[in-house]
């Protein structure tokens, strides 16, 4: 069943409220999950479970957490993601807006990259198959 963008945002918003204990109005499309909404690493697992249930989808771990890329010496040098690494990230996460990260691609910056809007795009790509 096709869901509208508003419907996806509404359900993502609900999942984030439940998982992070945030208020509905804090969950804006631009809000970053870590910096603005206070998500910690364990919360991502919770968010995954809630989205899987809410949208009846399966979320393979590596799709939302490309740790294998960020710890691969082929793609990271001196704590900075290389051009090849960025390409790999874009392939893995075509739904994410990586433009900000590209300007300063330190691995440590990756943690605070994902926004609510990215998450909605990801879910949208899964729901549409």
């Amino acid at each position: 069943m096709a869901l509208s963008e508003d419907e996806i945002f509404g359900k993502v918003n609900e999942a984030l409220q439940d998982a992070l204990g945030v208020d509905e109005d804090e969950v804006t499309p631009e809000a970053t999950l870590v910096g603005d909404l206070g998500a910690e690493s364990i919360d991502f697992l919770d968010i995954v479970f809630k989205l899987e249930k809410s949208f009846d989808i399966e979320i393979p771990r590596e799709e939302l957490s490309p740790e294998d890329i960020l710890t691969n010496s082929d793609y990271v040098q001196d704590g900075v993601v290389t051009a090849a690494g960025l390409e790999e990230l874009k392939k893995r996460m075509p739904w994410a807006n990586l433009s900000g990260f590209e300007s300063d691609p330190k691995v440590q910056n990756f943690g605070n990259l994902l926004t609510v809007s990215d998450l909605c795009s990801y879910v949208g790509s899964k729901v549409k198959g």
Binding site: L45, D46, V48, K53, R61
Partner: protein, 178 residues
């Protein structure tokens, strides 16, 4: 210190659900101080009991090979106190499973009424997260499961009784189910 917050498994279906009994007794020290002169099992220990039941349910799904910890109490709603003399019936249902954790939905019932509803999330420790090595000795878990009647009631999804787990290879043989 004893830290066993369920008394006996009554049902266990691999990958699906588990049921257990917890009887609240006056000789438990924990009932004295929570509400003086009104001895109850503190709600936190009902959460702990549900975590032990649900934790075993999920750990068994992973054949006891992963280091599983309670990571989050998603919800815990208590509708009635668990008074001394009460027998609580816990049921945990496996809800979500990932290779690095899972969730369960738990319900505690007393005298046919829902006493508590509890949602829990568990995560698998990786590498040297928190501590290196196993969180407990395999033989201790094995002995605990024996004490809880686990092997008497547990069946796989196909209704067959469980074989031994590879993770318990160092433990004594599991008695053959009757």
């Amino acid at each position: 210190m004893r830290w066993f917050w369920v008394d006996r498994f009554t049902e266990f279906v691999s990958g699906s659900h588990a049921k257990a009994i917890k009887t609240v007794a006056m000789d438990e020290e924990c009932v004295d101080e929570y509400l003086p002169t009104y001895p109850v099992l503190p709600p936190t220990l009902i959460i702990e009991g549900m975590a032990q039941l649900g934790g075993i349910l999920l750990a068994e799904h992973f054949e006891f090979r992963k280091r599983l910890v309670l990571a989050k109490v998603g919800k815990a709603t208590f509708h009635a106190p668990a008074r001394v003399g009460d027998q609580l019936f816990y049921e945990a249902k496996l809800d979500g499973i990932q290779d690095n954790g899972g969730t369960i939905e738990g319900v505690s019932t007393c005298d046919g009424e829902v006493q508590a509803e509890i949602s829990l999330m568990f995560a698998c420790l990786e590498g040297s997260d928190i501590v290196d090595g196993p969180l407990y000795a395999a033989e201790d878990l094995h002995a605990w499961l024996l004490s809880l009647d686990f092997y008497s009631v547990a069946v796989g999804a196909n209704g067959q009784r469980f074989p031994r787990y590879a993770a318990f290879q160092t433990a004594d043989s599991v008695p053959a189910p009757t």
